[in-house]
């Protein structure tokens, strides 16, 4: 397979950013009600279903616009996707290390993984009750706590970032996003175990 695994965003070339598309300020903090109503309004104006009987170029344009609106909404309505997208805009072409982690973080994650492996060997049945379920719950609580504090840190970093943040803030945000990925993977595994 010759796949380079580089996702393309429909917006990449058209110069319009998702925030502007929805008439929202370019910020991590987002007003959900405004986002939702802007999404509805845009969808009502450009969904291809309203152009089913229109000439082909008009229908194609509606489909393209509607696709962009859907993708923008998907990104902006998710905390992590929005953070990643905004960071990309703020970094403005500067490359950031997508593997950078705070000191000790990787070790901590590996220890948690090992603990999980010991408690729940790969082919073990789901832990819905008993002492193991208690363990899984405890670990889930731990991971959730870490995620909460990551989000808090992210809010602060973005709030202090301004229009053109310095390298240090950008790196801090990238590291924050990298950590979240690890924690989310752990959380996913715990959810599977608990089901």
């Amino acid at each position: 397979m010759d796949c380079m695994n580089k996702p393309l965003r429909p917006s990449a070339s058209d110069g319009e950013d998702y925030f502007r598309l929805f008439g929202l300020p370019r910020s991590y903090a987002i007003d959900r009600a405004s986002l939702d109503s802007a999404y509805e309004e845009l969808s009502l104006s450009c969904h291809p279903d309203f152009f089913a009987a229109a000439p082909a170029p008009e229908l194609a344009a509606a489909r393209a616009k509607s696709t962009l609106v859907n993708e923008a909404y998907r990104v902006l309505s998710s905390d992590s996707l929005r953070a990643e997208y905004l960071l990309g805009l703020l970094a403005a072409g500067r490359s950031l290390d997508t593997r950078a982690l705070p000191e000790g973080f990787l070790m901590e994650m590996l220890e948690l993984q090992e603990e999980l492996d010991e408690l729940f060997p790969p082919e073990s049945p789901p832990a819905t009750d008993g002492p193991q379920a208690g363990q899984a719950q405890r670990m889930r609580g731990l991971v959730k706590e870490r995620l909460e504090s990551l989000l808090e840190e992210r809010r602060k970093l973005f709030a202090g970032a301004g229009e053109s943040p310095d390298e240090q803030i950008l790196r801090g945000l990238q590291t924050n996003l990298n950590c979240e990925k690890y924690l989310n993977r752990l959380l996913e595994r715990l959810e599977i175990i608990e089901q």
Binding site: M1, D2, C3, M4, N5, K6, P7, L8, P10, D36, E40, S43, L44, H47, P48, D49, F50, A52, A53, R63, S66, T67, N70, E71, Y73, R74
Partner: protein, 616 residues
Amino acid sequence: MSELETIIGIDLGTTNSLAATVLEHGPEALRPPGAEAIMPSVLSRSGQGWLVGAAAREERTRSPETTVYSVKRLMGRDAEYLADEIARLHYRVEPAMRGLVRVRIGEETFTPQELSAELLREIKRRSEEALGHPVAKAVITVPAYFDDSQRQATRDAGRIAGLDVVRIINEPTAAAIAYGLDQKKSGLVAVYDLGGGTFDISLLSLSGKVFKVLSTHGDTHLGGDDFDRLLAEELRQRVLAEHPGAELDSPLAAALLLKTAELLKIDLSRALETGYELDLPGQGLRASGRMTREELNELIAPLVERTLDSARQALKAAGKSAEEVQDVVMVGGSSRVPLVREEVERFFGRRPNISINPDEVVAVGAAIQGHLLAGGRRDFLLLDVIPLSLGLETLGGTFSKLIMGNTTLPAQAGELFTTHVDNQTGVDVNIYQGEREFVKDCRSLGRFRLKGLPPMPAGLPRINVSFEVDANGILTVSAREERSGTEASIEVIPSHGLTGEEIDRIMEDSYEHAMDDLNERQMVEFRNMADAVFRGIEKAWEDAERMLSSEATGMIRQQMDKVRQVAQGSDPLALKREMDLLGRMTQPLADAIISKAALTELRKFYEDTGSGPESG
């Protein structure tokens, strides 16, 4: 309204189908004069033609090998996947090329698409009869959890039936449109749709104008038919316990057991206990017994639990809890089963809404969507999702997701490809749909071959492949090599389903057959007409010899022979020509006879009334 094109909504169900449309006063199911709106999704082969609907359903127990039901379960699926299903069906299903299956009836075989097309053709005909004008366009509903192949198969069936399928829409979503617009609801709504052969659950957020599907889950092989099957098996065991020698495995006995089970299920939806009787005249066997609703519940409980598992998955994907759901709408004939209602009520902690007609609501929703697509209204919008993630096979057989399940449609994703051999001019890409880690656990949709790349050193080409899923949930792929700007051509090789050429051929065949059928029907009509004319001439022959010259009567005799001769053939137009000629020859005779008869009548009239004509 009248200037709008009619786009009917069709609920093409596993056990029943029907159509609806939007009229001046609102949406309604289409009822042909003197017929039910609902048509059983059953076909029975009779000679060169098909019996469709209620008449075909009667044939299930009379002629099980030539009667086809539950075709929907075969759509877009391969023989391997369908093995269990095929073993249970009373007609023969055989594996065919490229993962297709074909239904065998005697010497003939048919794809599920062709069979579905026959159902759609009949629905189309009935709709035209109800509306009094031709119908060319339709919105067809499919289970929300249908994958790309199953959607394509449905769309192909429409094409074969001569319908322009302007939209494929998900059944629970269609129900939500009909329900939401009718009750002016807003908030979080769950649609629980348990039909004859499929189950779906969808969560929607309704806000005045916009119906947004948040998530969907389901099982395309779980429905009321499975309840019947379990009941039939229970009956079989009971009869065998009582009559150990009974032969219950013949298609006929199996069909009878199934029919008895179905009736039993319906009875037990109303009564707590009921009796059953099973007649096998061929074996001189008559078995009877009683069954309670509790016994039925015990049989079907595991299946109902599976639907609740789906509900949990859908809630999780939407990030919602059961308590947040403000309305639960139950759709599909099988939502009438008491245990289903009880369990759904328990699961959501609220009484489900059963006020709407569960049989008609899906077709009505599709009709409303059709009305919107025809430009009839702009006051609501449906935002639906792709049910399963779409992606590619990457190294080591892993599944790399490009468009995630539950993404709002239309959606698009791109991927960059390159070559790994110098001067390579083509790249193969395998497309899959599913939620698992490895492609072996996902469903192969097809292989895409990028061809016509300009020769370049390995790794240099940048081939941008774009995957687009339209509002129908159907995928299209396009590609472009960015360095040279060449559009790489893409050849789509569907893993399942029909190629474009195959559909064209089926359409040609069916057109030819339609011509044959038409010819044959016309020949029969003209022959009957000729017989009637001959009888008339013979009756009037005495008068003819008296009124016409011998030359004229001789010519009539000659022409009659000619008509007889052409009636043996198969050209209706030639027969019509000869009949017309005969008609012209006998015209003076007919005129004379008619005036003679009229005169006789007139005389009789005046004699009766006692007065005479004033003058000659």
